[in-house]
């Protein structure tokens, strides 16, 4: 039987896959609108030049001549050159800086939708070292002195790229705030939660923000862009608070964490002053017994405490 971690990974993979499918459908629609996408469902049956000839494998017309290219004289006209990328002063609205063409993208000045679209292009068109280099450069645009961990051994393919993507989310949220909050709200939220931790009976408590507000990916809705998350998932790491939860008689889903708790229930346990909601979105709190238990769960975590 699948455990919660495995189930979460499957849900995350499905969400990303759904988002990529939707994006591919958008590209197809855009190409169709521009007249560049002429899908032929019987393309496998079209004749090609035989293997071993200079044009081997290329589409040919009925007489066996290549239908395109410099030597071809077929009936299909050559494709028009791609339009130049929009620059400053261009009449079109600014588009995403496509990952396949450029790696020195302006990560700091992207909207949320541009940011996630660019990450998606990077994931699809760049592999291995190139993608790692692009992600590292992106992280350094937010935090020039960021120290990368050179040794991150794992047998799972793409784990280091995944780690870098999460670190990029972390750095971006540190600068601009999570999805669903502006910079001022983010600062206020952090300040209040830090004060609540300090005033509480649990001085070892440290708060983090996790979930779709940080990762940009919702299990139910795929990649979020400008709309933001439905709720905020906060996490409190505190061995003493976790022990208090155990003593109160609450049943736990595992030996290291609680179910999502409301601010009211945490107030009853001795941690008052936490927000119930932010911008109309409910905030739930999961208490972990240790930081390592929290980091073992999938997805990035942003420290909320200011100290």
């Amino acid at each position: 039987m699948l455990n919660n971690d495995q189930r979460s990974w499957i849900k995350l993979s499905l969400a990303i896959s759904a988002a990529l499918r939707a994006e591919l459908a958008d590209i197809r629609r855009a190409l169709t609108a521009r007249g560049e996408h002429k899908h032929n469902p019987r393309w496998r049956e079209q004749p090609r030049a035989p293997r071993g000839t200079p044009n081997g494998g290329q589409w040919v017309d009925g007489g066996g001549k290549p239908s395109g290219g410099p030597k071809g004289s077929g009936s299909r006209p050559p494709s028009p050159p791609p339009p130049p990328p929009p620059g400053p002063g261009h009449n079109q609205p600014p588009r995403v800086l496509r990952a396949p063409e450029r790696l020195d993208m302006d990560w700091r000045n992207m909207s949320n939708s541009e940011y996630f679209e660019t990450l998606s292009h990077l994931a699809r068109h760049r592999r291995g070292q190139e993608r790692v280099a692009a992600l590292q450069a992106a992280i350094r645009t937010f935090e020039p002195t960021y120290q990368f961990n050179p040794i991150l051994t794992t047998r799972r393919p793409g784990a280091y790229e995944q780690h870098l993507s999460e670190q990029l989310h972390v750095q971006r949220v540190r600068h601009y705030g999570p999805l669903g909050m502006d910079r001022a709200e983010w600062t206020q939220f952090r300040s209040e939660i830090t004060n609540a931790m300090r005033r509480s009976r649990f001085p070892d408590a440290r708060a983090y923000l996790r979930g779709s507000a940080v990762s940009g990916v919702s299990f139910g809705r795929g990649v979020l862009t400008e709309t933001g998350p439905r709720d905020f998932d906060a996490t409190i790491v505190s061995p003493s608070l976790f022990a208090a939860v155990q003593r109160s008689g609450m049943r736990l889903p595992s030996a290291t964490r609680t179910w999502p708790l409301s601010a009211r229930r945490l107030a009853r346990l001795g941690m008052p002053g936490l927000r119930r909601s932010e911008n109309g979105r409910p905030i739930t709190y999961v208490v972990f017994s240790s930081a390592s238990a929290m980091h073992a769960r999938p997805g990035p975590a942003i420290p909320l405490s200011l100290d």
Binding site: M1, N3, N4, R7, A184, E185, Q188, F189, E192, F219, A244, R247, S248, G249, M250, R251, P253, S254, W259, P260, S262, A263, R264, R265, A267, R268, L269, G270, G273, L274, R275, R276, S277, E278, N279, G280, P282, T284
Partner: protein, 115 residues
């Protein structure tokens, strides 16, 4: 304040409180904790609200154990729990009045000891 109820349908509790308190609950469907209802006070200038009322099921489905589990030991006799922030004095008083008049059948659950 925490109240235990023995209603069979959570919507009965919701409609009763909505009618007599003049508030509107929001349905919260959480993948981990199931369906509950929540009302929060008006947000302040920072968009934050701190106090509210929640109506929670006392039992939830645990996918790891593949069975329904009790959320809290002292919730065992009840089907749904109404939680009211201690700071909402007027709402607490109104709910106690409902209980006194027999409109809301509920029992106050004492705060569990925290040592």
């Amino acid at each position: 304040m925490e109240l235990g109820t023995k209603y069979t349908n959570i919507e009965d509790v919701v409609s009763l409180l909505e009618t007599h308190l003049g508030i509107t609950f929001t349905k919260v469907e959480d993948g981990e904790t199931g369906v509950s209802y929540d009302w929060s006070e008006e947000p302040n200038e920072f968009g934050a609200s701190y106090y509210g009322i929640e109506i929670l099921p006392t039992r939830i489905f645990d996918p790891e154990k593949n069975r329904v589990v009790l959320c809290q030991k002292n919730w065992k006799p009840y089907t749904f729990v109404v939680g009211v922030s201690e700071e909402l004095k007027s709402h607490s008083a109104a709910i106690r009045e409902l209980m006194k008049r027999g409109l809301l059948k509920a029992t106050e659950i004492p705060l569990p000891p925290i040592t």
